[in-house]
Amino acid sequence: MLFLQANPVAQALNSAEWVFPTAEIFHIVGFGISIGTIAAVDFSLLGGGLRRKAAPRLLRDTAPWTLTALTIVILAGLVLFLTMPLDYLRNDSFRFKIIALIFAIAFNYTIHRKVASSENISPPLGILVGSVSLILWVSVVAGGLFIAFVTA
């Protein structure tokens, strides 16, 4: 496992001081865009924001932005991870975040997409799916922040 920490990528990344903060900024702005566009759909499913019956159009219009930004977030996240992989793997908050992220992405591209793109979404279903989506994504962000606060 030690080769992970001393890998050439990590050495290259750690040799410049600006790499980590720059990747963090891309990571944060990127999740603002990706999760933000998902949250806009969630608000509509909850019955606030744009009306519930507008959800399919809203989803169609925002999906490319979500996917592009999600790709940027994950790439930036990978750079952050590779600077010291072992420390992250040992970190409980990081593990929680990755599990939450897997659930969030899976949920987003299965149930969430199916419900948000259907006509005549029933209010209880809309509220349920919108809430689960918001909770999952907020957990991912919170899990990410707590990486710096839990002692590994």
Partner: protein, 199 residues
């Protein structure tokens, strides 16, 4: 000591400030909430501006997008600012000379000015924008500036934690919140820190 320094020092010495900044649970939870607001509500600012630029949500009228997102953006803004005031206020003695924090504050003031300048002609004038055959340049200008200012605010916000403190200027630093200044990832900063403050 100038009055801003004196006030910041006074503020950060209040009981609530010391309890808050020293708490291993409350502090990160408030910080996480502040950050989650970027995701949940920042996206609405983004979508509003992208609509004004004509880049997305074109099947919705500008009035619809701005009008229906407004209440959510306000709720988000209140939560975000409340958390921000707690975070900055409780450690005001370490924030008032942090250049990234000062740039962030300046950008926030500029966002206020942006609102004053563009609200009458853009954000409160959406029906006229919807009637226009093409989106007027002033609406696109407002959107572009808003995007740039908000991305600046987010970036500067992250950088606040990287400022090492002007110990070379002889300004005394209080006991520094380890998690804010020396994150496990920042090995170079860690090294600098141990050098400067051996205990």
């Amino acid at each position: 000591m100038n009055s801003i320094a004196a006030f910041s020092q006074w503020l950060s010495e209040r009981d609530w400030a010391m309890d808050f900044a020293g708490s291993a649970q409350v502090y990160p939870i408030v910080l996480a909430t502040h950050l989650a607001c970027i995701a949940v509500f920042g996206g609405l600012i983004l979508l509003t501006n992208l609509r004004l630029l004509g880049w997305t949500l074109k099947s919705f009228s500008i009035s619809d997008v701005i009008g229906r997102f407004r209440i959510w953006k306000r709720i988000g803004f209140v939560i975000m600012v409340t958390c921000g005031l707690l975070l900055a206020g409780s450690e005001a003695n370490k924030y008032y000379y942090n250049p990234y924090f000062l740039v962030k504050l300046t950008l926030l003031v500029l966002i206020g000015v942006h609102g004053l300048v563009f609200r009458p002609s853009v954000y409160l004038n959406t029906q006229e924008l919807d009637r226009a055959p093409v989106i007027p340049p002033r609406a696109k200008l407002a959107a572009g500036l808003s995007l740039a200012l908000w991305i600046g605010v987010v970036s500067m916000g992250r950088m606040i934690g990287y400022y090492e403190g002007p110990s070379e200027l002889g300004i005394p630093l209080g006991p520094v919140k380890q998690s804010l200044y020396v994150q496990p990832q920042d090995r170079s900063l860690c090294a600098i820190w141990t050098e400067r403050f051996p205990d």
